[in-house]
């Protein structure tokens, strides 16, 4: 509530600042605008920035740290017997306080000290929000007054404003780096917690995957087993099937589009193929589960084969179809980049079109095509929904595409969907898998992008 109010106040003051700055600048030279260093609008923006920016920065810093600070304050006031526990109970305690403070029933009678802490937490948060509102609003008013005070014919408003804008642009372009850092850090931290419980060697080379953890220590199968080899094998199997579909079809389609199809046909074919790329993966998953899997199964039965109702083959074929446009449009680009003179030379020697393509165009385009295939593989490895919906969840160590297998992404999804405790190896193992997935796809992408880049320079 208070935060919305503050946002409104800030927006209002910014607009007022702009108008005030602009009119004061014009007034300071008696309406002869040419005598100003900068045009009046820049003076307006100058005052608006003074009014809005400091308060906004405060607002961001405050909201990012407020919850944590207040929680620490409340926790430090709790009696010893509650805070003395290990990491697990501390997490539980925090969750209890937060839930109670938000009025969410936890389902059991809270400890009176915890209930008191929750009340204090709520009142502190309330107090903090109101003081933020007061401080933020006064900061904005002060900024507005200061900015307005500085307006005059000699004020160099434009360079000042442009400096701020430039800093903002730089910050925006740093978001990409921040995202990468965020991904790496979050994966690494949680994965390290996982590897503190499960040895990385067991994880990478173990052949049994069953992440179920027992509720009590004395239960049967109380320790989960985290050998990820079956997941890697399953991912590999489905990726191979997908590539067997996507690479020949995608490549031939690209060759046909760039070498044989006429201009008119091409303008229709390319977007039509790209529709396949625009279909959400969940739709492919539905198609794989309801149409492709029964089809594969009935064909297999007609041939006398034993096909699982959720086979790797069905999921792989549909994934291959999804990747066709990816392969075809990337290869299409590299094939088009091969200079016409090479083709003309080949025709001049009497080669037919297909001979030219096979012996001149494709070898020349090969690095680009390899890069396209690598990017396609990385996409197949990272695809989640199709396998989640169509190839089951059983971790099978098999090379038989007619059986159900599971993949790394599917396991990440199933491990983290629903209620989960944050400290169990079961939950944390998803981050271990995520780290492996990230590193593998990162390597594939890096190599592919580098190949594309060096290849491009050849004909430029």
């Amino acid at each position: 509530m208070q935060l919305t109010l503050l946002a409104l106040i800030l927006a209002l003051l910014t607009v007022i600042g702009f108008l005030a700055g602009r009119s004061r600048a014009a007034a300071s030279v008696g309406g002869r605008v040419a005598e100003l260093h900068s045009v009046p609008s820049y003076h307006g923006v100058y005052v608006a920035l003074w009014a809005g920016l400091p308060a906004l920065l405060l607002f961001v810093a405050w909201t990012a740290s407020e919850g944590w600070l207040v929680l620490q304050l409340v926790l430090s006031g709790l009696p010893e017997r509650l805070t003395a526990g290990d990491g697990q109970s501390a997490v539980l305690l925090k969750a209890d306080i937060l839930n109670l403070a938000r009025g969410i029933a936890t389902g059991r009678e809270p400890d009176p000290a915890v209930a008191e802490a929750a009340r204090r937490y709520a009142s502190f948060r309330d107090l903090a929000d109101w003081s933020l509102l007061a401080i933020g609003a006064s900061l904005a008013v002060a900024g507005l007054a200061w900015g307005r005070h500085r307006i005059g014919p000699d004020l160099r408003a434009r360079p000042a404003v442009e400096r701020v804008v430039r800093v903002a642009l730089v910050v925006c372009s740093l978001v990409a780096i921040l995202t990468t850092v965020g991904i790496v850090l979050s994966l690494l931290f949680e994965a390290l917690r996982f590897f503190a419980v499960v040895s990385p060697l067991d994880f990478l080379f173990g052949t049994h995957w069953s992440p179920q953890m027992a509720m009590r220590a004395d239960q049967v199968g109380s320790s989960g087993s985290f050998g990820a080899i079956p997941l890697f094998a399953g991912t590999l199997l489905i990726t191979v099937v997908a590539m067997l579909v996507a690479v020949p079809v995608g490549l031939m389609a690209a060759i046909y589009m760039s070498e044989y199809a006429g201009r008119g046909m091409r303008t229709w074919l390319k977007p039509a193929l790209e529709i396949l790329a625009g279909i959400p993966t969940v739709v492919y998953g539905f198609f794989a589960a309801l149409t492709m899997a029964p089809f594969v199964r009935s064909v297999g039965e007609a041939l006398g084969l034993d096909v699982s109702s959720e086979s790797a083959l069905a999921a792989g074929i549909v994934m291959g179809v999804m990747i066709i446009p990816f392969v075809s449009s990337l290869s299409d680009d590299v094939i088009n980049a091969v200079p016409q003179s090479l083709r003309d030379g080949s025709y001049g020697l009497g080669a037919t079109k297909s001979e030219t393509i096979k012996q001149v165009v494709l070898p020349a385009a090969l690095p680009g095509i390899v890069a396209a295939v690598m990017l396609a593989i990385s996409r197949a490895i990272g695809e989640t929904m199709i396998v989640t919906m169509a190839s089951g969840l059983t971790a099978n160590l098999t090379a038989n595409p007619l059986q159900a297998v599971t993949t790394v992404t599917t396991q990440i999804a199933t491990l983290l969907v629903g209620d989960q405790e944050f400290d169990s190896p079961k939950t944390l193992s998803a981050f271990g898998l995520g780290l492996v997935l990230f590193l593998v796809t990162l390597c594939l992408n890096m190599v592919a992008l580098r190949v594309v880049r060096t290849y491009r320079e050849k004909y430029d």
Partner: protein, 437 residues
Amino acid sequence: MTDLLEQDISAAPPSPAPAATSKSRHRSEAFARRLRARHAAERRFRLAGAAAVALAALVLVLLLGSIVARGGSAFWETRIRLEVTLDPAEVADRNYTVLLRRALHAQFPQVTDRAGRRVLNELLSSGAPYELEAMVAGDASIIGTTRTVWVRADDEIDQLVKGRYRRDLPESERGLSDAKIAAADTLMAGGALAQGFNTTLFTAGDSREPEQAGIGGAIVGSLLTLLVTMALSVPVGVSAAVYLEEFAPKNRWTDLIEVNINNLAAVPSIIFGLLGLAVFLGFFGMPRSAPLVGGLVMALMTLPVIIIASRVALKSVPPSVREAALGIGASPLQTVLHHVLPLAMPGILTGTIIGMARALGETAPLLMIGMVAFIVDVPHGLTDSATVLPVQIYMWADSPERAFTERTSAAILILLGVLILLNGAAVVLRKLFERRW
């Protein structure tokens, strides 16, 4: 030089007429055979290319066809006509179920036993009493009168009317009892069963009962999520592109940013879900299942797409425009804001639309941040629990009821329709503003 050439030509001995000698290798039997083989190979290769394109097209048709065949009928729902006497006493007690059942039983005077009546009761949707209640709430004057009302039928009857149960199968394999089929047939023969446009599908939230489930909640959730995505990724993405393309010096830092952006564009989407889970939910303690967090994750995911597209658009604006602006005294920033950016806008817009279309269809990262919760209400704010269209599709796809298959397909059709509209808009924009400098 020309002299030399002419001399050479004139000096050359007259070539023998090729047709005359049978020894020419171009006329040999082996050559003809080789040529035929090469031409056949040429035709085969071309055919293989055409077949690849045809195969892709075929799959597309098959995919769309199978979904239309499954989901087209979900846009209609079956209703039952009842002559309901709105007994004031029962209305006061809000016993609308009793009223409906009484009216239904009146249509089957021959059924008197408990088992038979239970079968009849199951013809009605469990949401039907609420429809009647809403009707009474809308017009209190109808209390005490007898009215003809059309109420929603149970999903099994709906599927029966749509011909999705095979009547020739034995009862145990069909999944629908003979008694229900007989009751439905009686109603149908009396004209008391009819199909109408299914508004529930568009307005309702999720439900365990297929006939009461709709995608209204998911659509609002998708809209809110997309709103957050757009509000964050478009300004940040365009600003980043402007900086990198117009102002950034060429050094190791900008190289690093560039490599980063290219890599982010190819990171598996589920990794972004893990990021959202660890950072936004775990570290900042934001609410689970909220469009706010979903939008944040999607914004990070679409950011590289928008940056790359915007950079291409900015690059295509010729340098002469910038030089002219700078020449008449505009500052670099004014040049970009007043001249370059407006000219690059169509390209940026196209990239944005494609990025949004991608975010609209994405499922996996949203599973990570808890948007799979079963949510009946339509969300009202950015921090309310919500679900989005693709996730709703994923959840319905898991439901065992036949009617949910139909509704899943219908939801897919709606999602695909929106996506095709978006992509179509991008294509039209590109064509409309395509400019050669």
